[in-house]
């Protein structure tokens, strides 16, 4: 943070100092719970606390046993497979639908734009437990509860708003004369979409897809309602792990998820920079 200007009096200086320290405290409380998990996941004992050996950095106090425990337990392996399978399928559906919706909603001549946007974004705002309960009763009647299709559709519905938001953001300031130019040069509307609109909104589409994937990946409420034992995902398995056999394998999988999240965040950031660079050149 910049040095306080010379004209700041005592109270201003105090205020600045308070602001700084509060900010650091907030950061600390946000990050510490996540960071503390990582060393604990290497605990050789089945405890959720630091042992003496860990605190004195004795190598024998650390081990990979919880990691191997995960990969040798068929329940966890199934959960990991399920999470990726459901996540990827839901992401594909959410991305396709969300992109189409965003492109359509960006048009000036779209009737009832606000109403439709509000409806499409509602899964983000309505408390998840309500959505989940509603989905459970509705999907049960259609025979979609307790199978992959139902879970995937439910997660796609939850992920779509994120795609709509990120794609809409990249479409803001989109120059529609480019579309007219494309048509004028002889390209059919579908071709114009793939050749001209898609490359320019791709960063939004990809970051929307990542958000949709993360939404599905750490979603537990809908899974609790909708999934049968065959569709258990990682969060669901962690949830039951907490209740039934409490041991640091939860911490190990959490550490893996943290690493995955970091990779995704970095990807999103790189994409954002790339699109900013493209736009910078454009200006």
């Amino acid at each position: 943070m910049a040095k306080a200007p010379a004209y700041f009096g005592f109270w201003y200086r105090l205020g600045t100092w308070l602001l700084k320290s509060t900010s650091w405290l907030v950061l600390f409380f946000l990050i510490m719970p996540i960071l503390v998990i990582i060393p604990l996941s290497f605990n050789v004992e089945p405890f959720f606390s630091f042992t003496k050996g860990m605190l004195t950095f004795q190598p024998e106090a650390y081990s990979m046993r919880w990691y191997s425990a995960i990969f040798s337990d068929p329940k966890w392996v199934l959960a990991i497979k399920n999470s990726f399978f459901i996540g990827i399928c839901a992401t594909v559906i959410a991305t396709a639908l969300g992109t189409c919706a965003a492109v359509g909603l960006a048009r000036d001549d779209m009737p009832a734009r606000r109403l439709i946007t509000a409806l499409l974004l509602s899964p983000m705002i309505v408390p998840l437990i309500i959505t989940a309960a509603g989905m459970f009763f509705f999907y049960s009647d259609l025979g979609l509860a307790g199978n992959y299709l139902g879970v995937i559709l439910a997660h796609a519905a939850l992920g779509t708003p994120f795609v709509i938001i990120t794609v809409t953001a990249t479409l803001a300031g989109f120059d529609y004369s480019l579309v007219r130019a494309g048509l004028n040069l002889g390209a059919r509307p579908v071709r114009v979409f793939w050749d001209i609109i898609m490359p320019l909104i791709r960063p939004g589409v990809i970051s929307g897809a990542l958000f949709a994937f993360i939404t599905s990946f750490d979603e537990v409420v809908v899974i609790l309602f909708m999934a049968g034992p065959q569709q258990r995902t990682i969060p669901r398995q962690m949830f039951s792990g907490l209740r039934e056999q409490i041991n640091p394998s939860i911490l190990a999988i959490a550490t893996l998820l943290i690493i995955l999240s970091i990779i995704m965040l970095v990807t999103i950031e790189l994409l954002r920079r790339r699109s900013a660079r493209l736009r910078g050149v454009e200006a």
Partner: protein
């Protein structure tokens, strides 16, 4: 109004009307015949309907009623991507994610032309607009003038029947604009395409066009060659919109074959070319261009005269601009070449100004103009 070349005009607007809200017409009964290879400009203030006409021709707007015909065939039911009409957009509309070569190749690619043929064409057109060295750059790395040239090349590369230009030079500065006017004219002469050009800049319209259609309030006020438009404006709007115009008020006293006699407020009688005001006793406005209005000693013999008081003399450079006021309070402007004989006057000095009948027009004085 327009003289069709041959029996069937190449491009024809007949009774074209356009409304966006089903209440007011943006374009009211537009008729225009365009010959192949002609350079036609639609000129008018913003909101006069000229861009709408262009958009209807390109297929981006529906025609409310009437017909647009190319080679006698109606285009109203043809999709924009099938019309084969080139267009240069106001903000260039170059694809920012494609290089110049890719931009130019795009219309050929969608037409499924062979790769080496595309490459040859792209090379040819890059050379044509003198951008050979920039083929692999993105539009963002070019200056405004260069982008404009690319936009022009892209609109021409697929050899369209008609090229539309929607205020293509609006975003450029004055120097560059003049350069580009020249460039467009050069390409037009070289390649012989038909141009429909939209602008609100009258100088641009006068220097580039074969014919100009002057729009106001959705109606074509006059469609004629630049010199006709300037020297024989059909009505007061055209006289006012194209260039500067002195307006001298009077009433029609006599009507002849070619000329009319007009009685001015001070009782003096002057003669003027007959235009759209031919009823004896009708109020009329005589329009005289500032460079045609001069001092009595410069025009010997039979000429019209009006007395006015000297107000100001402005030094412009290539000419000197004199401002006078007549007895009824209206302002008169004289543009005199900046030569050694450009006179000096003292304040409030009464001067007799003169002009020739053939340099003036007696125009209908319209009811107070609505501004839209």
């Amino acid at each position: 109004m327009a003289d069709p070349v041959g029996d069937k005009p190449f491009l024809q607007f007949t009774n074209v009307k356009k409304t966006y809200d089903h209440k007011s017409l943006v374009v009211k009964d537009f008729n225009l015949d365009v010959a192949k290879g002609e350079f036609i400009t639609l000129l008018g203030p913003s909101g006069s309907g000229k861009t709408t006409c262009l958009m209807m021709l390109a297929g981006f707007e529906d025609v409310t009623s009437g017909e647009i015909l190319i080679n006698g065939r109606s285009v109203t039911s043809i999709a924009p991507y099938q019309r084969n009409i080139g267009m240069v957009f106001q903000q260039y509309a170059l694809f920012p994610h494609m290089t110049l070569r890719e931009n130019l190749a795009y219309p050929l690619k969608v037409r499924k032309m062979a790769k080496d043929e595309i490459n040859a064409k792209v090379d040819e057109y890059l050379t044509l607009v003198e951008l050979q060295a920039f083929g692999n750059r993105h539009p963002g790395q070019l200056s405004g003038g260069q982008r404009q040239r690319v936009a022009l090349a892209r609109a021409l590369i697929f050899a369209p029947d008609i090229v539309l230009m929607d205020e293509p030079l609006g975003a450029l500065d004055k120097k560059l604009r003049e350069q580009m006017q020249f460039e467009i004219k050069r390409l037009h002469d070289q390649l012989g395409f038909t141009v429909i050009y939209v602008t609100h800049d009258q100088t641009e319209a006068l220097t580039m066009s074969d014919r100009i259609a002057v729009f106001n309030n959705g109606i074509v006020q006059q469609c004629a060659a630049p010199h006709v438009l300037y020297e024989r404006p059909a009505n007061l709007f055209v006289a006012d919109f194209i260039g500067e115009s002195n307006k001298i008020m009077g009433t029609i006293a006599q009507v002849g074959d070619e000329t009319v006699t007009v009685r001015l407020a001070d009782g003096a009688e002057v003669s003027s070319l007959k235009a759209n005001c031919t009823e004896i006793g009708a109020p009329t406005t005589i329009s005289v261009r500032p460079e045609k209005l001069t001092f009595t000693d410069r025009l010997g013999g039979a000429c019209n005269q009006i007395k006015a008081r000297f107000v100001a003399r402005h030094y412009v450079g290539e000419y000197i601009r004199y401002q006078f006021e007549t007895a009824d309070g209206s302002e008169l402007v004289v543009k005199n070449l900046n030569d050694s004989s450009a006179p000096q006057f003292s304040a409030q000095e009464e001067v007799a100004l003169a002009w020739l009948a053939q340099d003036s027009q007696a125009l209908d004085r319209p009811a107070p103009q609505k501004t839209t």
